[in-house]
């Protein structure tokens, strides 16, 4: 590896990656940083299972080359925190959203992303923000309910 390491912030800590620069962030996270909460579902930005936050915005890590996150803040399900995250996760557990659970890291990260910018999101905004996240178990009824209740809790 001749090129210089890619430096970024991963879950609040300095991180550096020395492998292939075009490695998707997803595989860097999973195979090199041992963070397995972020999932592979399609590899082409179709399913949202790989959703992480880059500088606070939900992004599909499967199509994000690691070189593009240089100097940016990457947050995964393992590192996400704060009031919005806590509220969303609490509602997820209370509504018993997950079935197989495999899509849920991505769902939760998308929901946190939505409510971080729009704490009072309504149904149309929920649909728009979440339609990139496939759940093959079709837990959508509870996803919607959990986000509605999280929005309620956050906006009071």
């Amino acid at each position: 590896m001749t090129s210089k390491p890619i430096a970024f912030t991963l879950n609040g800590e300095a991180a550096s990656f020395e492998g292939e620069r075009d490695t998707p962030l997803l595989w860097a996270l999973r195979d090199h940083f041992g963070l397995h909460g972020t999932k592979y579902g399609c590899g082409m930005a179709q399913c949202g299972a790989c959703t992480v936050h880059i500088d606070g915005t939900p992004r599909r890590s499967c199509i994000t080359p690691i070189s593009s996150v240089s100097d940016q803040k990457v947050t995964t399900i393992e590192g996400v925190n704060g009031k919005v995250a806590d509220t969303v996760i609490a509602e997820w557990i209370r509504h018993e959203v997950p079935q197989c659970g495999f899509c849920q890291s991505g769902q939760v990260m998308s929901a946190i992303g939505l409510l971080s910018t729009k704490p009072d999101a309504g149904d149309a905004e929920i649909d728009a923000a979440m339609r990139g996240n496939i759940c093959r178990c079709a837990t959508y009824v509870r996803i919607r309910q959990a986000i509605r209740d999280a929005a309620k809790a956050l906006s009071t």
Partner: protein, 717 residues
Amino acid sequence: MITLARPTRREMLAGSGLILALALPIGREPADAAETSADPIFMPNAFVRIAPDDSVFVVLKHVEFGQGPATGLTTLVAEELDADWGQMRTAMAPANDALYKNLIYGTQLTGGSNSIRNSWIQMRTAGAAARAMLVEAAAQRWGVPAAEIDIERGIVSHGTHRSGFGALAADAARLPLPSSPVLKTPDRFTLIGKHVPRIDSPAKSTGKAVFAMDVTRPGMVHSAILHPPVFGAILQSFDASKALAIPGVLHAAAIPQGVVVYARDTWAAMRGRKAINAQWDLSKAETRSTETLHRVFAEATRTPGAEAGRKGDVDAGLKSAAHSIEAVYHFPFLAHAPMEPLNAVIEIGDGRADVWNGTQYQVGEMKAVAETLGLPFEKVTLHQQIAGGSFGRRSQPLMDFGRELAEVAKQSPDRAPVKHLWTRENDIAGGRYRPLTAHRLRGGVDAAGEIVAWDQVIASQSVFSGTPLEAMKIHEGLDTAIVEGAVENGYRMINHRVGVHVLQSGVLPLWWRSVGNMHTSYAIETFLDRLLELGGHELLAGRLALAADDRMKGALTRVAEISNWGGSIAEGHARGIACRRTFGTTVAQVVELSRGADGQPKVHKVWCAVDCGIAVNPSIVTAQMEGGIGFGLGHALFGEISMTEGGRVEQHNFDGYRSLRIHEMPDVEVSIIESGAAPTGVGEPGVPPIAPAVANAWRKLTGQAITRLPFSRGITA
């Protein structure tokens, strides 16, 4: 009464080793792992393990892939044990038919929506036996009669004496097994039928749940596989030079299933897979298009086929009918596309193998691995994981995946442990589909409007053709899985005949959530709707009059109540109804829809009544109905695997194989019918009624009967 043997010392050790290996039981935060890592010391049977710290482990013989057995089976034990829900933990059973077989199938297999059904008495007996021994241990320690001892929420008490389970565990372990532990009567249930929080929600909401894909082993490499581009194609030669030039790629090898690329990480393996240049021999390949197959299958239904069921005289009935109709239905191949593509970790060496996998058929998968590696079964250890969905995909009659995995292990560079991961493209274009199927229905009503003839001929592939199960499952050209729900179709029929053609194609078929019920439900409930209308019947009343049993009547009545069937609805909306019994559970659904902007059905709301006997966990029952409705709806709207002339699959990922998304998910209202009957399953029965209910509503709205699925293809402008 089921008697549960105390496991042998070897089995106990296997069990306890297993639990320790699973330092993070599902549903638990890491903080709990230390707390629960205490070695269980009381193991009264194969299912219950109690540790000195009061943790109660329930060993799960069924795979948890979302349908809820981790919570359900644990509830059954906790109920009879009078444990506190907070002290319950789960562990995965190893592959062992003697201890962990499905009591309905006789082997350790999860399917047929019967995890709770087959375990209902067994798991409660396991809990009751453990309870009796804890009580006896307390009686001896305190010198009081066992009959006077009480247990409530994990606390054993008598007068001023109180103890947790852990403190009694060592004594209890020395007692003889109770001969016939007494089970509670349902009026004494405190957990069954109540709200018990799903045990895996926390881990699955925080990214902490560990799937096979998340397992790593020291020195592990990653592999990806290139499968034949056409079903039945055989590898002639391949050139891996481009793949091997990719940094991180270690090795490429041909195995019977395709070309495998080994690499230091997944990304390199996937890139290597794409860079393989392979030549295939197509001489034995299936090169027909799905359009051709649809034609061939529909054509076959012109003759009666093997008789699956017959009542009365259909031909006479058709002749006497005042009005008759005929319809030909086309059902496409469907991929399961579980969210977690098939994958596993395998490590071989020293005449043994270890496999980390979330398999639906523990024993079958390990047999396939053992056979392929030439090892005795006992030398293959399964470390069972939770699975990211399955819908039937994680078991196959030939256990193809286990065989592929073992071949991958054989070629692994330096015999390194390997994580073998299918890409989504492997998953969607790789076969093992819900078989393409055609139905031909002919029916008629007499002058009074009564249905006097129902003739149904089905042409489909059999999941069992060409497998060791063929002799057992196919009799005189008849595979009963194909006609599931069609012979006893839920309605009283005077003249009724069901015929089957088991056809062949080079595409490998597989059971798929609700199996034959998926297509038979659609054909039956939509055709019935038309016949009822032809006979001048109201569609609910007509069904109620024909319903063959009270549970079906009950479900129809309930769904009519909660949906206010017959009440006024919004302009431009229409409703449809369907009711099916699948694997012993009856589900009735009412759908309300309108025409969406894209000209396709826009489903606004689904009402669902379910009779599954005692609902062990009402929240999970409801979730399975919601999920089953979404799954069934998505496939009815867009689900199709198609092949062009030449045999190439046209769908490779979720762009081509559309999945239901959140904005397409209707509101769902579920009502569970109160019942004292033994529980039946809920994983599959929510699926079959939804597609016909939507089609019935659509016909009401537009006059168009949809006979070709998916709707995106069957609805023509």
